[in-house]
Amino acid sequence: MADPAGAAVAVDDLVVFRGRRQVLFDVSCAVPAGQVTGLLGPSGGGKTTLLRSIVGVQAIRSGRVGVLGLPAGDPALRARIGYVTQAPSVYADLSVRDNLRYFAALTSGTDRIPDVLAAVGLADRAADRVDQLSGGQRARVSLACALVGEPPLLVLDEPTVGLDPVLRRDLWQLFHQLAAGGATLIVSSHVMDEAARCDRLLLLREGRLYADDTPAAILRQTGAPDLEEAFLRLASEQVAR
């Protein structure tokens, strides 16, 4: 199923256990370069575990994860992946600008701080401490810290949760701009209405991948009027199996 040609990320028969519980069951997929791929599915379905495996911080039981032509977790990948965790992982006791400076120093890009702040809509909050910001603003600081190094692969775990519709639309525009510039984006979400904004979709439920295709192909295949209905039909097929 996974085709390494032209793929930024290739996952083959990935099995992951957390403790005694199996979280991923033989997951295989290929994420094409230069596109926005959505990883959708209910909470607790293994989305974060799959993203962690791609980033290289998840211990895996078996299978292979290839990222930009290297095995996941290879030291050479560290300057080339931007990872945004679901809970904002930035320093709450530092200003927005100081957070960006630090993460820029870790990736070697520093001139882009004003651009990145403007892109996430926080240009006027640069001097504020992160712990004075709202939850949605903190999430955007966390995103900005990943963008500042201009990594060719961005792995974003639910980056738009809790944001108002205007901001969400702006961020999705930004994701597509980055993809148009050659970056590969993997964006997870449990909100199905974000699925239509992706070039390609991975549907993950209870640790099993049950779709890996473009939104149009998924609609065609299921004969559903919209993606939400398509997911419901795919999910009930999976249960029936």
């Binding site: 957390r18 911080v57 560290r78 965790t85 992982s89 100081d98 630090y102 870790l106």
Partner: protein, 244 residues
Amino acid sequence: MNPAIALATARRVLQQLRNDPRTIALLVVAPSALMILLRYVYDGAPGTFDSIGLSLLGIFPFVTMFLVTSVAMLRERTTGTLERLFTTRLAKLDLLVGYALAFAVATCVQIGVVCAIAFGWLGLDAPAGVGWVLLLALASALLGMSLGLLVSAFAATEFQAVQFLPAVVLPQFLLCGLLTPRSQMVDVLRWLSNVLPMSYAVEGLARVRQGSADAVLVRDLLVVAGCIAAALALGAATLRRRTS
């Protein structure tokens, strides 16, 4: 190891400290006030103030850096910043060196102020030279830092991390020779005292008071340095890039 990343990390840790004026005040004001208190508690016995005062210059940095590091590193672990850092080019050693540099600067400020008050105003005396005092204080600060880093791996909350302070510090404080000379302890306690690193920092400071910058003093410093290296190596083993 990438020096630019280690320096950026040191700068970031110092910025976090600077943004927390209450902690800075506690780092500097509390030991100074205790030193002044001690001076007047032993007003009638200047010799006692000299010996306890000098030893405390080795104990303050240990206690404060242990506390600050264990909580700071626990926060890195629990807020997800540590996991995020490990997806970047930052090496474990960059992180450790960054923290060590930042806390060395903080210790210099702390000990600088306390020494200025103790030697300049309270009449504390360091016959072998204030330089040795600074060196021993820095060594015990780094020892506190490396042990704090290690215990942060075994605490799940900041509350637990703080509970490690009495468990790690009090036995060393009781057995380091400050309250009773180590030579007068029963054998078992003396052996115990021999394997606890703070004993060597305090013994070194006692040498400074006796005016002898001799081989024993150098050996004490080397023992403390060895313990720092061992605690850092163990602490580094608890920093995992890949977790389940």
